[in-house]
């Protein structure tokens, strides 16, 4: 039985069959970010507006006069998709109240890559989350400035070789560790924060559906495997995302009103070497550096498990 026929059999019960991010865009072969966007849109449905920071997805999807989007879509520069999204959210709210647009609720959804979120857009994101707009922000993190050609960002992992911090005789790639953006969002007391990966499509779709229902700010951090920038085989994009989860490099969890839970669990973490060795950006790492990465990943994972085990939902902590 073909995959398509198989899809028709069981998927309608799990996944919206409508497509809002369609074929014809110019993403690279094996781009997991394009897949993630497609899944996000299915989960959002018709009543959403996408506010897109400058980046890969803006460039590949919008070449005038074409568009891959079947939702209203707005691009507003690099550092400010969260600020522009808060304006869209405010306008829709006030115009509905004044009876100038139809009364049905429409979700403002700001999206950005890791550069537009971790780095240049962090201030605008922090402001929007603090103000508490009815706004979902989804960060599609491919761990470097891929649109401009694989430059290092605050989301680039330790040791990765990029075009602005390449490995060489006098360099071992990025010398700092990846910024923990998800924790920064949790520190804003955002009621729904999650990590996700399109390698676990149903988990991701359910999280978007949950986030959409929040009447306030919500944040999802999506790991988007980038075969071009990670220098790995394009057909490995899905399995690479699974390896990121299975090794503990990118744990998949959610935080609902302060309560942590792992939504993708593994009995035992695989060694990080299984993940690193498949990617050209890490090919220069010495065994010592791989060991360093391994120790850090386990430490971070244990910190997360500690929160899963010990932190309570805010409602349980009322005086």
């Amino acid at each position: 039985m073909s995959i398509v026929a198989n899809f028709d059999l069981y998927a309608p019960r799990l996944v919206n069959k409508e497509e809002y991010f369609v074929h014809g865009h110019r993403a690279c072969q094996g781009c997991a970010e394009a897949l993630a966007i497609r899944l996000m849109c299915k989960a959002l449905g018709k009543d959403a507006v996408i506010i897109n920071a400058t980046g890969c997805m803006e460039v590949v999807s919008s070449l005038y006069p074409t568009t891959a989007w079947k939702l209203p879509w707005l691009h507003v520069a690099f550092p400010n998709s969260a600020a522009a999204g808060s304006g869209v959210s405010a306008a829709l709210k006030v115009l509905r109240r004044k009876g100038k647009i139809s009364d049905r609720p429409v979700k403002a959804v700001s999206i950005g890559g890791d550069g537009g979120t971790f780095d240049i857009g962090l201030q605008a994101l922090s402001g929007a989350m603090e103000r508490g707009h009815d706004l979902l922000y989804v960060c599609f993190d491919n761990e470097a400035y891929m649109n401009t050609g694989i430059q290092r960002s605050g989301a680039t992992p330790f040791g990765a070789s990029t075009t602005t911090h390449p490995a060489g005789p006098a360099s071992t790639g990025k010398s700092a560790w990846k910024k923990n953006l998800t924790e920064i969002m949790i520190a804003h007391n955002v009621p729904y924060v999650a990590t996700a990966c399109p390698s676990y499509p149903i988990d991701f779709i359910r999280k978007v559906e949950k986030a959409k229902k929040v009447k306030g700010p919500a944040f999802i951090h999506v790991l988007a495997v980038c075969p071009t920038g990670w220098r790995c085989a394009s057909e490995k994009a899905i399995s690479m995302g699974r390896l990121a989860s299975e090794t503990g490099v990118f744990p998949i969890y959610e935080v609902v009103d302060g309560k942590y839970s792992l939504t993708i669990k593994h009995d035992k973490l695989r060694p990080v070497a299984d993940y690193l060795k498949l990617q050209g950006r890490f090919r220069h790492l010495s065994p010592d550096m791989v060991k360093q990465v391994q120790e850090r990943v386990v430490q971070e994972y244990n910190k997360l498990l500690d929160k899963v085990d010990n932190l309570h939902a805010w409602s349980e902590l009322k005086g």
Binding site: K46, D47, V49, I51, E58, V59, S62, L63, Y64, P65, T67, W69, K70, L71, P72, W73, L74, H75, V76, A77, P79, N80, A82, A83, A84, G85, S86, G87, V88, S89, A90, A91, L92, K93, V94, L95, R97, K98, K100, I101, S102, R104, V106, A108, Q123, A124, S126, G127, A128, E130, R131
Partner: protein, 392 residues
Amino acid sequence: MKQVLEGSQAVAEAVKLARVDVISAYPITPQTHIVERLSDFGAEGKISAKYLRVESEHSALAALIGAATGGARTFTSTSSQGLALMHELLHWASGARLPIVMAEVNRALAPGWNIWADQTDSLAQRDTGWIQLYCENSQEVLDSTLIAYNLAETVNLPAMIILDAFYLSHTYEPVDVPEQDLVDRFLPSLKPKFQIDQDDPQAFSSLVTPNAYMEMRYNIAQAMDETISQLDSIEGKFHDIFGRRYGAIESVQCEDADIVMVTSGTITSTCRQVIRDLRAQGEKVGLCKIKMFRPFPIDAIRSTLQNANKIAVIDRNFSFGATGIFAQEIRAALCNLPRRPLVFGYVAGLGGRDVTTGIIESIYRCTKDTDVPLSESIWIGLQEVSDGRARS
């Protein structure tokens, strides 16, 4: 009804009367009285706008770009460093053809750190595609804000109402605040030419290749050109209802003048007095106030200035490596005329230094007594000069 208002408060009254949907702003002196007054209106339930207290000026304008694309009538206000921080998105607002209105209180740029009047902040944004209206008094501020909404929404370009720090933003004057029903007649609710619509989804601000970008820019240029004639007809409508109009420029006794002084902002009011005094002494002097700087009303400026022998432009701003910015534009506007007056460029009042009647009269005397300009820019009132340039 007449009220005694600061220029800042006049802006806020106009924003209330315009029934703005979304306000987004970040505090900076000397713009704060505008946003504080609007905040009071909100707290008192006098306006129904959604007010976003954003974390930067960059985000203030970004939020309005989102809101205006959503179909909302929008307002922001800033000064100086804040306007400079917005620069990227000033281009964006005009490129996206959004009729956002901003009140910009002219303030000097740092360093040295200076909160007083200086036009270099807004004039440095002259190429961003915003309509720029420089105001002289609080009544003009209120009226121009209402006119700016009508104008911006007609041509789909953003508009800046510009007022001098403190001399106008913080000075109380009697202002006729119009009735709401009359304002509603002049400025009906916004009917966006495009907006976010779930039933007709569109992509805004896409990637554009060289084969379409130039045409989009040309469309903006055409809209700017159209703004000059639209101002005339919109002010006609305003005059029919409220009995006041201003024009892109105002000419005072220029018809027979040998020397015409060119001013903008609050220096104009002081210059009016100087013109009266000098005329009483028999001097053939006129005044050309430039209210609209973008688009630059070249035809009106040519016809007003071409018969004078000398033009004295007073700039409370400076473009380093060039000259005062109004002087540049006046020279460019006149250069292709068969008979051109001499243009004397004077730089005065930077960083809020007072430009008194005495200073303006000395500028007139210097222009009258000199056959040709001694330099392209004559700095007035410098306490130390080392290069022999004229001083008063």
